[in-house]
């Protein structure tokens, strides 16, 4: 490998929020351009979120230490902070360790809430920006594309992201276990606290039809109703409207229970026993715990929901070991690809592939023409192999010339590998949304050759 992958970064584990905010990148695109201009790197990409800053760079043929120092120096200067403080709080990885780290981040194994999906979206955004600015080239392209597919594989093959790990998400999951599809259900917020608002947002996103907001301060209820698209009411009218809703989220600051079991009993009669789900996230609690003993009524308070979240978190940690095994395996595969970016292994792969095709075609022809003597067989074999090798002379010559040019070796080798599909990748027909769904079977290609030749003549 003549190009080194270097990754430096800091996250919630290595640096406190006071440090993270100092070294957060406000203008990532300008930062990437600056890195390309001032550091010895061929390619780079930066990611800056509230929990982490990551800089991935592909170093030129200069000593690793030199590149690392220049990256740290440039980062510290860009943030107007001391490089010493940065060095104390960052991690540094090179080559396959860096690859492993990128995959780990993409799979959300390194996130504060393991398995959360946001990091993958943030990584995709950062990559898109780097591609648009031209700072992501062959290796970063491949690394990021691979990291997205590894993340997808981990999500499919493990249960790392399958369970709720936030209070509001747990509430939605529980509601789905009671009502099934939340389409057409109605919710009520009793008290307009921040957590209740978050839970209501989650419910609305998951199909809840509309929300009634009952609050002591009507102006706040109105304000929240406008942002959520619900109906504001005075808290005094809450009991008259309770029978209309399926889900109740309560978060008032009241020192006594706002909703009592006997009231809910009457509400149930009005609703003809249609189930109700009460979420009490207030402390002290707003809803009489006896409500849970009524048939068709389910009550979860903040501790119950926290328990659900903690249990799910523990389950995610168990799944993490499976996910790490996938990451290890994919890192190894990526390592093979990195090594293949040299000219020599590519030539060997090219020749192997074309010899394999020649041999298969020869066997087909021999089957068609029937038995032939040894001499004819050898002559035919020499012929097909000679045609195969000769057809590779020009492509190999081209690659050899290009790899002598500064900065273009990987690009052309990677292109040749993809053109001849040397890594035996299966590209699904819908891999490129902006392209036509053309099939690439042997028959199709044969037809295309015939049509093209006929047109030419």
């Amino acid at each position: 490998m003549n190009k080194k992958i270097i990754l430096i970064g800091l996250n919630h584990r290595t640096a406190g929020v006071d440090v993270r905010e100092k070294f957060a990148l406000t203008d990532v695109e300008a930062f990437e351009k600056g890195l390309m201009a001032h550091c010895s790197v061929h390619e780079c990409m930066a990611l800056s979120t509230c929990n982490r800053v990551e800089i991935i760079a592909i170093a030129k043929n200069v000593p690793e230490r030199e590149v690392l120092d220049s990256l740290i120096q440039y980062w510290a200067n860009a943030c107007n902070k001391s490089p010493e403080l940065l060095v104390d709080n960052i991690y540094q990885y090179t080559d396959l360790e860096a690859v492993n780290h990128v995959f780990t981040v993409a799979c959300s194994l390194d996130s504060m809430v393991m398995g959360e999906p946001q990091i993958l979206g943030q990584l995709k955004d950062a990559y898109r920006a780097a591609v648009a600015k031209g700072t992501a080239k062959t290796i970063v392209n491949r690394l990021l594309h691979k990291s997205f597919s590894v993340a997808k594989r981990v999500r499919t093959e493990t249960a790392i992201a399958s369970s709720a790990v936030s209070i509001s998400y747990a509430a939605v999951e529980l509601a789905k276990k009671i009502f099934g599809d939340l389409e057409g259900t109605r919710a009520m917020l009793v008290g307009a606290g921040e957590m209740a608002e978050l839970a209501a947002t989650h419910l609305l996103r998951n199909g809840v039809q509309d929300v009634i907001i009952a609050n002591r301060t009507f102006s706040r209820a109105k304000e929240l109703a406008e942002s959520l698209g619900g109906e504001p009411i005075q808290i005094e009218n809450m009991s008259d409207r309770l029978h209309e809703v399926d889900i109740v989220i309560s978060s008032t600051g009241s020192p006594v229970a706002v909703i009592k079991a006997k009231d809910v009993k009457n509400v149930l009669k009005k609703r003809k026993n249609k189930p109700m789900f009460f979420i009490d996230i207030a402390v002290p609690r707003d809803i009489d715990p006896d409500v849970n003993s009524l048939d068709n009524v389910y009550l979860y308070d903040i501790d119950d929901l926290t328990e659900v979240v903690e249990e799910n978190m523990a389950q995610r940690h168990e799944e993490a070991s499976k996910a790490r095994a996938v990451v290890e395996l994919e890192t190894e595969i990526f390592g093979h690809w990195l090594n293949s970016l040299e000219l020599q292994p590519t030539i060997v792969d090219l020749v192997d592939k074309i010899e394999d095709i020649a041999q298969r075609e020869l066997n087909k022809t021999l089957r068609k023409i029937g038995p032939v003597d040894e001499k004819t067989r050898n002559a035919l074999k020499t012929l097909v192999l000679s045609v195969a090798h000769k057809s590779l002379h020009e492509p190999i010559c081209f690659l050899k010339r290009r790899t002598q040019e500064e900065g273009s070796a990987e690009r052309f080798i990677d292109m040749a590998r993809r053109m001849f599909n040397l890594d035996e990748e299966n590209i699904p027909p819908d891999a490129h949304l902006d392209r036509k769904l053309d099939t690439c079977s042997s028959e199709d290609i044969e037809n295309l050759i015939d049509v093209s030749k006929n047109k030419e003549q």
């Binding site: 369970s163 276990k177 099934g180 389950q315």
Partner: protein, 270 residues
């Protein structure tokens, strides 16, 4: 081995394999196994249909003899299961539908069904109304039984805050289980009423038959009253969830006892 024997062995094998795979699929949370089990049930059901068609094709009087009522019942259970699967996406009910279909099919092989001697002119009416509606009722009650047990179990899990992971990711919602109960009540009760009272009516019109109260008829009527209570509470008073689930289990148990009692009585005195 003749065609029928081979067919029966295939049906039993498919139902048994489907049952085992579905149970393993549920315990290990393996979606693929569950899917395979359902497709095995589809294959078994297809063969079961072919078996019934062949029997009737060969001898149309087979229905009069009522030799294969348990076989029809097994077929009916799966037909209703597929209906619920289609309408409610309730694959989960295979947990009761498959073992019950297997049990009924094996029973039909072992017992040969109920033998009823009927006057030929009333056969179609009697079979169509009485047996047909009772078979369908039993089918929907089996679904209600399965969903009732599932409802009680998962309702308890949610009420006692056992956690989402212990409930299982792919387990249907309580509302879906309750919907099965609702359908079993609204469809099953009129069918059962039709099935039960058509036999009383048959006694009135059948020559040489005298209606008299016996333990069999009283037993059937007790089950009907229990079912009527469930129907009233569910449809008129709006019962939902746990209570109708428990009642449906009792009605199903009553129906099973009544069926076994009928079988024994008719075998001893056709």
């Amino acid at each position: 081995m003749g065609l029928f024997e081979s067919l029966h062995i295939c049906i039993i094998a498919l139902y048994a394999l489907g049952t085992i795979l579905f149970l393993i699929g549920v315990t290990t949370n393996n979606e693929k196994l569950k899917r395979i089990a359902v497709w095995l049930a589809v294959a078994g059901f297809t063969l079961n249909t072919a078996d019934l068609a062949l029997v009737l094709g060969r001898d149309s009087t087979a229905l009069n003899a009522g030799k294969f009522y348990f076989n029809i019942l097994a077929w009916c259970v799966l037909a209703l299961y597929f209906f619920f699967w289609w309408r409610l996406r309730l694959e989960f009910l295979a947990i009761t539908a498959l073992p019950l279909a297997l049990l009924l099919f094996v029973t039909s092989m072992a017992l040969g069904g109920v033998r009823v001697i009927m006057p030929p002119e009333l056969t179609a009416l009697f079979f169509g109304l009485h047996i047909g509606s009772l078979v369908l009722t039993l089918g929907v009650l089996m679904m209600a039984f399965g969903s009732g047990i599932a409802f009680i179990y998962y309702n308890r899990k949610i009420k006692t805050k056992a956690g989402l992971s212990s409930i299982g990711k792919d387990v249907p919602s309580l509302d879906k289980f309750d919907t099965v109960n609702k359908w079993a009540v609204t469809l099953g009760f009129p069918l059962f009423t039709l099935g039960l009272f058509s036999t009383f009516f048959w006694y009135l019109i059948a020559p040489g038959k005298q209606f008299s109260w016996d333990i069999m008829k009283i037993g059937s009527l007790v089950v009907w009253f229990l079912y009527a209570f469930l129907f009233h509470q569910r449809v008129v008073l709006g019962w939902r969830g746990r209570k109708p689930a428990i009642l449906a289990i009792w009605v199903f148990a009553g129906m099973c006892i009544s069926l076994v009692h009928h079988t024994i009585t008719f075998r001893a005195m056709p």
